[in-house]
Structure formats: C-alpha cells, structure tokens
C-alpha cells in the first residue's frame, strides 16, 4: 500500500513550496494567503510509492470556513498515514495553535519547521528538542525553498507513529499553554526581513503615497510589457514572416494546390505566428504579476484599496481573485472558492473577467503598435478602465435584489515582504510559455484553420481569393449591424470580437488572417479604443466560462453573468465611441449621443434610488422587511 503524507499548515507557511520541492512538480505559489484552494496530489520524486497531498492553508480546525471543512473532512475520512504539519519558524506562536489541534486527530504527525535558514541567518535560536517534547512529535527543521533537510523529513515521516498524547487542551487553553512555554523554545526577536518590511510598508501603504505608488507600479508593468516585450516580439514576427515566405516558395516549387498553400501560409502560419509573436509581452506581464504576488505586495494592494472597493460592495477577499485575474482569469476565478459570503463570491465571479488578463495583453500590444505608435499608456488606460468598470458594476450589482446580503468581514495577514525566488520566476515563465504555445497549437490553430476555410469557401466552393463570396463575409455582415453604434460596424472587426470569446488571442489572429490593413477598419482612435474596451470587457475565454460555471454551480447564473458582461462591454464601448463622435465636431451625432448617455444615466440613477431605503420610516415595506436596515444592525 502507498504511504500517504498530508501537508497541513497555516496559510502562507510554505506548504506548496514544500510540495513542489518534494514532488518535483510545479504548482502555483505566492507570498500571501490562500493561493492553494484545492487539494493537490503528487508523488515523492525519489520514491513513487509515497504520495504527497497538499491541502489549503488553515489557521485552525474549527469548521469556520470552506477550507477548514475541506481539510478536516479529508483528514478524518481518508486517514493519511502521517500528517506533516508545516509551521513557519518565524511565527511559531500562532502556527503551533493548529499543531495542538492536529494532535487531537490521532494521526501520526511530524512537525516541519520551515524557513529555518531564515532563523539561522538572523541568529534566532530554536531548541528543536524542546519543541519536539513540547508538542510530543518529531520536529524536522527545513527550508522548503532551498530544499534543505527534505530527505530527512520524509524519513522521519515514514517511520512516524502515533506518539503519546501530550497535554489534552481545550482550544482556549492552547494559546495560554503556548505563551507560557514559547520563550524556552525560541528566543524571539524581529528578523531583518521583518524590520525591512515595516520600513517598506511605511512607504507602500503611506497615506498619501500608497496609492500613487500602486498606480506607478502598474504603469511601469504595462510599459515593460508593451515596450520591452514588443521589442522582442518583432523578432518573432520577422521569423514567422520569413518562415511564411519560405514555405510559400517551396510549396510553389513542388506545385501544391493553391488552396492548400493558402491554408498553410495565410491561415495557419499567419494566424498562429501572429499570436506567438505576443509571447514576450504576455510573459513579461505574467512575470510582473507573479512578482507582485511572490513579494507580498499583493496584500498591500488589497490593504490600500479595500476601503475604496467597499463603496462598491467589493473588497477584502474579492480583491485577491481580482489581482490574480490580472495574470489569468481562470486562476482568479478558482481563488473565489475561499470567499465565504455567497453574495461576495457571486459578485467576484461576475467581475473578475473584466480584469485585463495576460491574453488581453496580446490585443493591447497589437493595437498599441498599429494605432498608437507603441505607446504603453493605452494599455495602462485599459487597466484603470477595468477597475472603473468593476467599481460601477459593483455598485449596480450591489443594488440588485439577488446580490443583497450582509457584508463579509475582512481579516488579511500581511506577510513579510520577500525577494521573489529566481527559481520560481523561471518556473512561472516556463509554465506560461508551455501554456501559451499549447494554446497556440490547439485553440488558436483550430480557429486559424476554421477561419481560413470560412474565408475561402463560399456557396460555390473555393472562392479563389474573392472575399465577397466567402461564408465568413456573409456571417460578418450579418452581425456587423450590432456593432455600428460602437464604431466598428464592419464584418472583419465583428468576426474578431466573436472569436475573441473563445480566446482573447484569437482577436489579433482573426484580424491578421482576414485583413492586412487594420487601419481601414476603424475611422478614429476612439473607435479603436471602443473596440479594445469591448474586447477587455466581454467574456475572456472558454476556459474561464467553464471555470465560472464550476464556481457558480448553475447554468442560469452563468447565462446571467455572460449577459451582464456583454452588456457592460457594449455600454462602455458605446460611451467611448460616443465621446469620439463628440470630439469629431459632428453636431447632430454628438447631440444624439449626449441624449442617449444622459437618459441612460438618469435611468440608472432612478433605478438605484428606488432600491435605496436608508431611512425605514419612509419605506413601504416596513422595518422588518427592509434588508438594508437589518444588514446595518448585524454588526
């Protein structure tokens, strides 16, 4: 029978880092709370018979949250051979609370004191023997990151047996017991990293500078992605251009039929090549987002912006999935699992897809280079536009009946700031590259073939390059009227928007297969912006929709979500395009646009007003039925 080792510990104690080191695999890690939301199974890389289970981080076994329930359920029902309780050596006191609770489960346990290297560096003495007798379990000091002492940990684990039960303590006695003994086990003093963190936080969460610094960091990230990434991207473009010409030439030599040459060169190579040329931009954005998480800055963003987002019914726990969504919406959505309040969760799932994920970066990069002279400011604008839309949508959703519920409380650990490990940065880049190329080889490839066929096939068969006879032309023309008010009512852009729902990279792919002169599709910079914001706000990809379905657990809710996202995309694109009309001095059109925007605004204000009932004496429902008032009284 296999030996099963379960990793249990506080959030951010390094369970997943240990899991990765033991199994030699790559699972997402981060220097903040709640990165692991589901249990992961792996095999010890030096002995495949030993199974390792990574569980979500928990503070206690009190059945308080979904995570705690999941861990407790697993430990009670699956009865692993041994629990490896991983504790953060720099924060023993709190971590040991869980250790005492785990001891009660009657499962053999080994305690792994992580970040032991940091203790040594700071000259903090930990008495391993005393700690071991204190909790009555073998203690192994390790460094999950550096891979120190891990073999020893496994050896200890495989021979671990249920030890004598130590002090049988009630929950409320545990802390007292720890407090009384902790000074004999460790000589506590602040680490250098902690002192540094406090100094840095003075700036990063400064009353005046905190938010400007956040804005500056985001601007810098987009600048790096668009400009530096774009620079490397041109080499990939050049490679594919040459490759396309070469292939075309050699195919001509061996007299391949016209349509096959077209399919391979103008369809597959052009389509997949265009998407792949954005790999550097996507990679840089993704890397920056992972640095934000790995360093611990993500918690500072949540801390800085919580109050702001709370105005819109969001904040706290819903900020974490949103920050994650800036890398990849699918990851962000999976992080919504830790949100306890159903309202907050539903709302977060609805709004996460608005965030500019790295795939949208390909679209922004393409448009910036063609229309805005490679200026990164447009992409940055998109980032803040998405925040604005999230805020407004939050405000609207908050006032809808089905989203009404009491506000969840917010407790967030502020982890010590750390330099992100180079090893992890490389792993992140490598995983993303694999991911991205796999996508290019599957979804993007299929879309390329399908688009090319539709573009070159009409009712009478192969069109010989006469686009006006093709199916794609007919389809595009049928739906283009929908997009007239948004400023891109032509068949090419319409098709691009539709394929964008499959995967956002498909937008640039489509445009590169259909038309060479993208400039002809848009009459002004505003219609380009309208198009970009529609792409930003419409559902990001098939994978994210299926993830949303997993979290929402209802087809009806997914349908509502999609409708909501399309509607938001439409309205925002319409407004941006409208502003464009105004700017173009066309009086009649400007007036129409102004009237429409005004009436929309008034309608929404009236709509919001109706829902507000701060003062219950004027509310016809009476105090007992007024949800808002009961909500206010709960806390």
């Amino acid at each position: 029978m296999n030996d099963v080792i379960a990793l249990v510990g506080n959030p951010n104690s390094g369970k997943t880092t240990l899991f990765n080191a033991l199994t030699g695999t790559y699972q997402k890690t981060g220097n903040w709370t709640g990165v692991t939301t589901e249990k992961k199974v792996g095999e010890y890389k030096k002995d495949r018979n030993i199974k390792i289970i990574d569980l979500p981080g928990i503070y206690a076994l009190s059945k308080y949250s979904a995570d705690e329930n999941a861990v407790l359920e697993y430990l009670e029902n699956s009865a692993p051979k041994v629990i490896v309780n991983i504790i953060d050596g720099t924060n023993l006191e709190r971590n040991l609370y869980l250790s005492f609770q785990l001891k009660r489960l009657n499962i053999p346990m080994v305690v792994a004191v992580n970040m032991y290297d940091e203790l040594e560096r700071n000259n903090i003495k930990l008495n391993v023997n005393k700690l071991s007798s204190f909790i009555n379990a073998p203690v192994v000091p390790i460094s999950a990151l550096k891979g120190t002492n891990l073999d020893n940990l496994i050896t200890e684990s495989t021979k671990a047996i249920q030890g004598e039960f130590g002090a049988n303590l009630d929950d409320n006695q545990i802390y007292k017991h720890i407090e009384e003994n902790i000074s004999k086990i460790i000589d506590k003093k602040p680490t250098k990293a902690e002192i540094f963190t406090q100094k840095a936080d003075k700036i990063l969460t400064h009353r005046i500078w905190g938010i400007p610094i956040f804005i500056a960091i985001i601007t810098l990230i987009y600048f790096l992605s668009i400009n530096v990434g774009g620079y490397f991207g041109t080499y990939i473009t050049r490679f594919f251009d040459t490759f396309q010409t070469q292939t075309s030439n050699s195919m001509e030599k061996i007299a391949v039929t016209e349509w096959l040459k077209g399919l391979v060169c103008e369809g597959v190579i052009a389509g997949v090549g265009t998407v792949l040329s954005f790999l550097p931009q996507v990679l840089i954005l993704f890397l920056c987002m992972s640095i934000i998480e790995q360093s611990g800055y993500a918690s500072r963003i949540a801390f800085n912006l919580d109050r702001f987002f709370r105005i819109f019914g969001l904040g706290g726990k819903s900020l974490i999935p949103m920050i994650l969504s800036c890398g990849c919406t699918v990851t962000g959505l999976s992080a919504t699992r830790t949100i306890e309040s159903p309202r907050e969760k539903k709302m977060t799932v609805f709004l996460c897809p608005f965030m500019p994920c790295s795939a949208k970066m390909a679209v922004f990069g393409w448009f910036s280079s063609i229309f805005f002279g490679g200026r990164a400011i447009v992409a940055t604008f998109m980032y803040f536009l998405s925040i604005l839309v999230v805020a407004i949508s939050g405000l609207i959703l908050k006032n809808l009946k089905s989203f009404k519920e009491e506000e969840g409380e917010f407790l967030l650990e502020m982890p010590t700031l750390r330099v992100p490990p180079v090893k992890d940065a490389c792993a992140v880049m490598w995983e993303k590259t694999k991911d991205f190329t796999a996508k290019a080889g599957s979804v993007i490839f299929i879309v390329s073939v399908a688009l090319w066929i539709l573009l070159n096939l009409g009712i009478s068969g192969y069109t010989y390059g006469v686009v006006e006879d093709s199916f794609l032309y007919y389809i595009g023309n049928a739906i283009k009227y929908l997009f007239y008010p948004l400023g891109f009512g032509n068949w090419q852009a319409s098709i691009a928007v539709v394929t964008g729902v499959l995967a956002k990279e498909a937008v640039v792919e489509t445009l590169s297969i259909i038309s060479i002169e993208a400039q002809t599709l848009f009459y002004s910079e505003f219609s380009v912006l309208a198009f970009m914001s529609f792409v930003l706000l419409s559902p990001p990809c098939i994978a994210s929709i299926s993830m949303a379905k997993r979290e929402l657990k209802s087809n009806k809710r997914v349908a509502t979500m999609l409708l909501f996202q399309f509607a938001s995309a439409y309205v925002v694109a319409f407004i941006i395009n409208g502003i464009g009309y105004l700017a173009s001095n066309d009086l009649l059109l400007s007036l129409i646009v102004v009237i429409i925007i005004m009436s929309l605004l008034i309608l929404s204000i009236v709509f919001l007003r109706q829902r507000k009932c701060f003062n219950c004496t004027s509310c016809s429902k009476g105090e007992s039925k007024c949800q808002r008032n009961t909500k206010r009284n709960t806390i």
């Binding site: 409320n172 905190g210 409380e409 407790l411 650990e413 709960t634 806390i635």
Partner: protein, 74 residues
C-alpha cells in the same frame, strides 16, 4: 478603550471582544484572543482597514471590527 482609537505603535492588552461568536472564533484562530498583547501599526491610505500586530505577525482588520475590540493596560 477601543483598539481603533489607539495611537500608532501603542501596545495594549485585549480585554474584551464584543463580536458575534463566529467572528470571534475566527479572530481567536488567528491568535487574536482576549488577553493577548496587541499593537496598532497603521491605517490604510483611506483610513480603513487598520494594520495590527499580534503574536509576532501583522494583519489587516476593518475598522468596524476594531471598534468592537476593547483594550486596556498591559
């Protein structure tokens, strides 16, 4: 005295947590128990949440909770 009314850097001892059992349990689980030493570190740029230090680690807590936590002399 209330936790939310402390000066930055001031250390006190938690006397009473006047919150519903569920939230209190969660605070306890994270180490914020009655009788523990607590320090107010700072507030966020918009005045809320607050950052506190308890049992050698730092955490953010919203003002509405901090308003219900009574602290007293060490």
């Amino acid at each position: 005295m209330l936790l939310s009314k402390l000066q930055f850097g001031e250390q006190k001892r938690v006397q009473k947590i006047n919150l519903p059992p569920k939230i209190k349990l969660r605070l306890n689980n994270m180490g914020l128990t009655e009788g523990v030493k607590i320090t107010l570190i700072r507030t966020a740029p918009l005045g809320d949440p607050l950052e506190i230090k308890v049992r050698d680690f730092y955490m953010a807590i919203r003002k509405n909770l901090a308003d219900k936590i009574e602290v007293g002399e060490l």
